[in-house]
Each structure stands twice: as C-alpha cells, then as structure tokens.
C-alpha cells in the first residue's frame, strides 16, 4: 500500500472548485513531482492534502483515512508542508523558526536542530538572526529544515524554486534528493522548473485545469515527445 493515496479528490475555494477529482499516489521512499501550468491546481492539491482547505473524495495516509483530519493533527501524523513562498516567520530567529517546526512534538529538539544545522551549515551561521534578514535561498533552506523538525514521513514541498537563482535552486534540489535517497523521506513536490524536477523525481503527474492528464515515471514523461512539446517546452 502506498504511503499517500488520493482518490477522486476535489477541492477549491468557496464556490469555486479547482480540483475535479484527481487520483494520486506517493509510495514509501518515493519522490513524486506534480507539473503543470499556472492555475492548473498544483498548490491547491498540496493544500488539500495537508488539510488546509475543504476537500471531498478520499485521502489515505499510512493506511489511515485523513479526509476529515485538520492541518494541525496531520503534522503529528507525519505530513510536513513547506508552503509556497516559503512562509518562514520573519520576526523569529532561525533557531526559533526551527523550534516552531517541532511544535507538534517534544523531546530531543536541541539534538534535531543540531542535526539540521549540520545539513544546512549556512543556517547554523545565522542561528540568532531574524529569519526575515536571510536571503531567499537561505529562507527556503530554513523552511525545509523547519518542516523536517516535525519528523515527517511525507514532505510536501510547494515550488521551492520560486524566486531563487538557478544555482541556488539546484542546491535546494540536491538537498531534497539527498534526503530522499539517504533518509528514505517521501517527497511530494510541486514545481514549475520541469527539467530540474524530472531529474530528481521518480514519478510525475501532469496537471491541467484541475485534472490529471498524464502520469508515469520521470523517464517516460521526459521522453514522450508530445508531452515534452506541450508542457516542458521542447
């Protein structure tokens, strides 16, 4: 059984339905990417999975039906969400941002902070600085480290490349790939930068106006000429 099973998921904002019944799976230790144009419903999918917006259909996580579970509870169950645009707390220090990341649990927090400081040395240097004074790349690293503080089984990462220089984006993806390969962390990624995402992910879902129009292994999607032309720009 997959770690995350999404069946006939519909969600939206008020009267506007954005997702029209999508199916999606993330296996244990798998890195899955959702590609699609602006307005396709990628971010809505993430929000629906993490329980931030109302949804219908069914979402099963680790064998438990979580369709009716709210966002705060899901953190404790093992879903961490790195929201679009990072969502770090600008007036808290780097350390305190990480502490908030561990809000849903207790014990061993200091050791965890040290562990992620080892993975992200730049954050260690800036530990007592306000998060708002970090660069975009550092803030993205902080958002990921903060999400990892909750000991997630599944990391939802919403467009980590947003507003980052190509080199920094690559750095972020290296980290995600490493976490996936070394720690066996399952990742559901939303990304606009298709070429980069296809290199790190194992499986791909292609989203168009709220429905899944294609899915398959990263290699399949990358080699399909029609899909390449339509979505990935040749």
């Amino acid at each position: 059984m997959s770690l995350l099973e999404v069946r006939a998921l519909s969600a939206g904002y008020g009267p506007v339905e954005v997702l029209h019944g999508i199916d999606l799976d993330v296996d244990h230790g798998e890195m899955v990417v959702i590609l699609g144009a602006n307005g396709a419903g990628k971010t809505t999918t993430m929000r629906a999975v993490s329980g931030m917006i109302g949804r219908s259909g069914s979402v099963t996580f680790d064998g438990v039906d979580i369709t009716r579970t709210n966002a705060e509870k899901l953190v404790g169950m093992g879903i961490a969400h790195v929201p679009q645009g990072r969502g770090t707390f600008p007036d808290l220090t780097v350390m305190d941002n990480l502490r908030v990341g561990a809000y849903a649990r207790s014990g061993g927090i200091a050791a965890d902070i040290d562990r992620w400081f080892a993975v992200f040395p730049r954050l260690a240097e800036r530990r007592d600085q306000r998060a708002g004074s970090l660069s975009g790349g550092e803030q993205q690293m902080l958002a990921i480290a903060r999400a990892l503080m909750s000991h997630p089984k599944l990391l939802l990462c919403d467009e980590p490349s947003l507003g980052l220089a190509p080199l920094i984006t690559q750095e972020v993806f290296e980290v995600l790939k490493k976490l996936n390969a070394d720690e066996g962390l399952s990742v559901l990624l939303v990304e606009q930068n298709a070429n980069l995402a296809l290199k790190v992910a194992q499986r791909v879902y292609l989203l168009e106006t709220g429905t899944v129009v294609a899915s398959g292994s990263a290699a399949q999607i990358a080699s399909d000429d029609a899909i390449r032309k339509a979505y990935l720009g040749a």
């Binding site: 993490s50 969502g87 350390m95 305190d96 908030v100 809000y103 200091a110 040290d114 007592d128 909750s150």
Partner: protein
Amino acid sequence: MLRIDEGSTRHWLLRLLGFAVITFIVVWVPTQMSSSRIGQFTDAFILMIAAMSLNLVLGFTGQISIGHSAFFGIGGYTAAILIKDHGWSPGYTFYAAAVVAFVVGCVVALPALRIRGIYLALVTLAVAVLFPTLVRWKKLAWLTDGSKGMDSVRYEDVPVWPILGELKGREGRAVFMFWLGLIVVVATYLVCRGIVKSRFGRALVAIRDNETAAAVMGVNLTTTKVLVFGVSAALCALGGVLSTLKSGVITPDGQYVTLLGSIVFLLVMIVGGAGTLWGPIIGGLVYVWLDNTTRDIGTSDSGILGALFGWADQSPATLILGLVLVVIMFAAPYGLVGLAKRLGRKVVVIVPRPVGSSTPR
C-alpha cells in the same frame, strides 16, 4: 563602542546595574516623593498593566483589539461588586476579576478565529462601546448601580505589611497602592515574559508572522488565539481592579472604562514599542509624565507656551500631548524601546554566543 560577550561576567554586571537602577527608583519614589507624585506612578503602573496585556494579543500575536477598555472595566466592576455587595477583602478581588475577564476574553476571541485586520478591530470596537452601555442598563442597575456608578470601594484601612509597617491616612494609602501596583506590574511582566519566551509564545509570533505557515507547523490556531485573548483580558482586568481600588470609585464613563481607554492603551503600547516586553512599561511612564506635564500648560499666561496657547479657552494639553506623540512616532517608528535599542547598539554591543554553544554537550 563596547563589545560584551553574551553570558560573560561583564554582561551580568550590566544586567545587575540595570536592576540596581530600577530598584533604586522603585524605593526612592514612595519614600521620598509627595503622595500626589506617588499616585502618578501608580497611574503609570495601571497603564503599564493594560498596555502589557494588549501587547500580548496585538504586539505578539498580531490580533488587533480595541475592546480592552471593556476588560479593564470588567475588572473594576468585579472588584467593586464583590467588595460592596459581598464584603470581600479587596486583595482577593484580583483573582476573581482575572477569572471573569478570562472567560469573557475567550468569548470575545471567537470572532478573531474567522476575521482579521480591520474587521476584527470593528468587532472589538463594538465590545468597547457595548460595555458602558450594558453597565448603565436599568435592568442591570441592581448589580452595577447604573450610571451613578459605585463608590467607596477602596481599602478603608490598608493592610499592615512587613517592611512597610503601619501606613495611615491618605499618604499611607498612596504608598500602599504604589507597592500593590508594583507587585501587579511585576507579576504581569513575569507572566508576559514567561509566555513570550515559551513554546506558546513562539506560536503567537508565528501566527502574527504567517498564520498559514503556523497552522501547517501544527499550531492550533483556535486554541492559541482563544487562550491568548483570555490571558490578555485577565491581565487587563488586574489593571482595572487596581484603578478602582486606587480611586475608590468606578462609573460607566470612568477613566479607561470607555472606548477612549482602549485608544490610550493602544497609544501607550505603540509609543513604548509594540512586540517588546519593556515597551508598555516605558510607554506607561512617558504617557503619564506627558499627560501631567502638559495639563498645566496654558493655564498660566507666562512663558513661551503661554504666549503660544494663551488665546485658547481650554487648556491645550490634549493638543500638545497629541503633537508630542506624533513627533515620537516619527522619531521612533518602532517605539521608544526600538529607538533605545538602535541608539544603544552604538554604545554597547552584546555579542551573541558563538555557534554551537547553545546546546550543552
């Protein structure tokens, strides 16, 4: 410029110096000053408590409230009713007022779960407007004595405390109220400090900075907001009790009970420094000092100010106070504490502990 390592002996000496200065002032005021001066300090304490409580919801959690005058009034009225109608000893009314205001605060927080910004301001504004009306309501007159309010709810004979000894008469009461006020200020400060530096406090700032991200980190927005409103209301009520015990009277249009009170709390908090622990304390002192200094201006025709404002029928106190506050906001947009921090950095720098030393190994 002086550089001091965090946690070093010199850093502790600096803290000790600050503590000594405050202790000196606190002992000097009630022993050496006139009882009207002492009373002004107690007034400042009352404002500090209210502003600190507002700071918790607005400064740290980012939830605007213009309804704190109602919590203040609830505190005052709870004390008055318990003392007059039920014969309570004044000291115990602090606890009762805190409990009543906590419950009301939690209820007022409910709209804050759905709305924010200017809309929340309007809802809390309604609470502030509603409270005096409710108190004046004829059907509640059996409880609140309607618009004439309640009087002689002060300490008739102030309790004898060790160290202070026996205090008698008006002067004695002023000294006693000063110490009582100080205790409540310190208690309120410690509660705020404890909250802000804790896990709960980080959740508050997280909500202020980014509500969505806080929720996906596992912060329960409902519980957190309701609790912080409740605690804030309870602390604000302590200020109300203190104010009532000091003056001995409370009326529906009494000081800080009306909407104007909420505005003053807001002003004190912002002038001192929103989202800082010391802001409301500095703000309270500055506000009371300005209020008392400007009050006398224009009543005499001498001097520059007399020449400037002598033509006015009324005392220009409010006008001058307003102008001074505008100037302060221009010079110190982050409040006086923000300004002091900025200037202080030019003289003394506290160097944070080096990387890797926060977690004991």
